[in-house]
């Protein structure tokens, strides 16, 4: 892995990726009545202000795609910036996404972390789709340019209170196969994040929300955080906007 990713700087890696994505559409003919028909979608599921135990922050979690029924280029990004301070967490993933069943896509591509430093590039393999009982799930495995292996499992659900008032529970678990001390990651389960957001869809594509988010570091990761004098858990009250186009 090191030989592939290590020798390029981050900008070169992204440029390489950008050049690579269009080639994905060479796989297979388009599925629709009008050949070559491409669709696009972008959704910022969370763009929010978090009132944390410590310093408040601005957080985002968004994804989008371009493609057809069977093949898509997929973008995922999430991050956190304290209200007064530098970006603390920030990542972007560019994936090729292929339909493998009625409800699931297999995805492969790369992830790049701006923060926390030192910068990392990752190879990504993911399964994303709709599980029975309407759970949206996203399971991703990552291998960094240093050869570190980690995984993330996310699940969310939309509970309709009315047609426009929707309660969205979310859960996220991060795991690592080894510890990466300089990034504050221990081996095993790193952390768990649970969220509950209540949104009102003024339009399908525009919904302000309020909610809570609770995060707790676990095991070695928690030990590392304690050593750094950081809290191992955090409860935030969030307010934000979900939008798409």
């Amino acid at each position: 892995m090191k030989s592939i990713f290590g020798r390029y700087n981050p900008r070169q890696k992204l440029a390489f990726l950008a050049g690579f994505m269009p080639a994905l559409f060479l796989f297979g003919p388009a599925q629709s009545a009008e050949p070559g028909q491409l669709f696009t979608f972008f959704q910022a599921d969370q763009v929010e202000y978090r009132a944390n135990d410590g310093q408040d922050s601005l957080n985002w979690d968004a994804q989008g795609w371009i493609g057809n029924d069977d093949h898509k280029a997929w973008l995922k990004t999430e991050g956190e910036k304290p209200t007064d301070g530098q970006l603390e967490k920030g990542e972007i993933q560019l994936l090729y996404s292929r339909r493998i069943s009625d409800f699931f896509d297999a995805q492969a591509g790369v992830r790049y972390d701006f923060e926390p430093g030192p910068e990392r590039g990752f190879g990504v393999f993911a399964l994303q789709g709709l599980a029975p009982y309407w759970f949206e799930v996203d399971a991703s495995a990552f291998v960094s340019n240093e050869g570190e292996v980690s995984a993330r499992f996310e699940v969310e659900y939309d509970l309709l209170i009315t047609q426009k008032l929707i309660l969205q529970p979310t859960a996220e678990v991060n795991l690592a196969a080894q510890s990466v001390r300089e990034r504050g990651i221990g081996s095993g389960i790193n952390d768990v994040e649970l969220g509950l957001r209540l949104r009102y869809e003024i339009e399908r594509k525009f919904a302000p929300y309020i909610g809570i988010s609770w995060e707790r570091k676990i095991g070695q990761t928690a030990d590392l955080a304690r050593d750094e004098g950081e809290d191992i858990d955090n409860l935030s009250f969030v307010t934000g906007i979900r939008f798409s186009f």
């Binding site: 003919p29 599925q31 009545a33 669709f39 696009t40 009625d102 029975p132 009982y133 209170i161 426009k164």
Partner: protein, 581 residues
Amino acid sequence: MNKPISGFSRRDALKLAGAAGIAGTLAVYPGRRSFASSTKEYTLNVEAGRIAVDGVSSNAILMGGSVPAPTMRWREGEEIVVYATNRLAVPTSIHWHGLLIEGVMDGAPGFNGYVAIQPGETYTYRFKLRQAGTYWYHSHSAMQEQQGMYGAIVIEPSGREPVRADRDYVVVLSDHTQEDPKRVLSNLKADAGYYNYGKRTLIDFFRDANRYGFNTALKDRMEWGDMRMDPTDLADVTGYTFLINGRGPRDNWTALFNPGERIRLRFINASAMSFFDVRIPGLPMTVFSADGQNVQPVRVDEFRFGVGETYDVIVLPRDDKAFTIFAEPVDRSGYARATLAPREGMEAVIPEQRPRTILSMADMGMAHGGMDHSSMTGMDHGSMAGGAMSGGAMGGMDHSKMGGAPMAGMDHGTMGHGGAAAEGGERRPFGWADASTPPGSKALDYADLKASTPNSDGREPNHEIEVRLTGIMERYMWNLNGRPFGKDEPIRVAYGDRVRLKFVNTTMMAHPMHLHGMFVELENGQTDRKPRKHVVVVPPGKTVSALLTANEPGDWPFHCHLIYHMEAGMMTRFIVEPKSA
């Protein structure tokens, strides 16, 4: 002439038959008015424009200067020439829906050697009318129907009309959206439930739990959730204004009559996506023609029809009062309304909208504990369930979990019928088929349709073609036999073949299946008088079959007439190989 052009009486029509310049850019040049083979020439310009619906202005594509396009009033045996000029910036086409016609004149780009009309170009359609009845014409390109490219065709028979009428009105139903259809499809691809504002909520759950018990309500949610299917998915698109002859409910298109007159109404479902339940409270309708083909008269209080279908009815208003023509889409997201009145300005009460139904497990082709699939006769329900289950959309389901009984209770209760079906022992529809028809009212059923003349080809079919209607709602993928248009395997039959088309609907939506170029004979329980149709509605989870004599050579489009389904790929090529020499 400030009356809507489609609203003149037959007497007016005759007076106007030779008049030129209807609605601006439509020019009518009557040829020699000799009896057998006169030629009529028309110029139809297709251009972008704006229309006003209920006082709200929006973009539209105008064909012949208006929405709907001018009504074509023709006579069987005539030769028709239409110069169609494309004044749009994109290709267009005009398809003559239901006409028996040479392939290249049928107007579907990519089929029969017909090429879309490019911007600035004119295409000359030339065909001889081989039939009579009510039909329509519309674009076959890029969802332009949704933007207003549709109009009625009325063809007088060369012989006698099947019924006498004092007045003759076209009633074109459609669904109008302010959104660009490409945007609509894009929204559906990103979120299939984007337009569904009738989903089941927590509040519905507590109501059901209260009525049927917590466990029953939960089990029901779990069954649907397990399949990742939504029982409220009745219409993919909402936000529509429903139109009659281009007029919204407040515009209130009005047709005049004198009490005691016989009025012929030619209903055409020219919508992009909507199935309508149509009624005229206080005025029974006698259906005597379906898809332009005469049937033995059936007296009904209401009928449901799918996109592309037409019904001709006679009504006899005796009283000096107004009547409302009321058409509700199955998802009840609005209504179309017009008025039959003795004088301009009169109105009748607008009825309350009926409740919205909810799909049942039977709509998935599941056996349903002794309940009946009443709207379709002559079908093999056992094999139907099997067929549906083999469809890709439902892979991995466990039959044993699909208990019918608790669901039956739920379905009826949710719709407020309080189990009437069970008590009365009456066969009444439920799930998709339930139009909330009040007891004692008669709704038209496919089984009621009986051709007015015996079928000409009495042969048994020499082979059967199974057409599975398939799709994945969650991804808004729609196709036939699991393969979208472009990756499909065309259907091939030889000229003169007698075939059975067996539609097996594996999806939870009803699909109005349209074959160009030929009529099929619906196997609805009639023996030698099967009704002839150009659109066959296949309800969710059901199997419907039809016979066909392949006597029109060509490669014909064969597709679901829901426009976003067709655009998503629910289409194939039906090839009738020419007679070999």
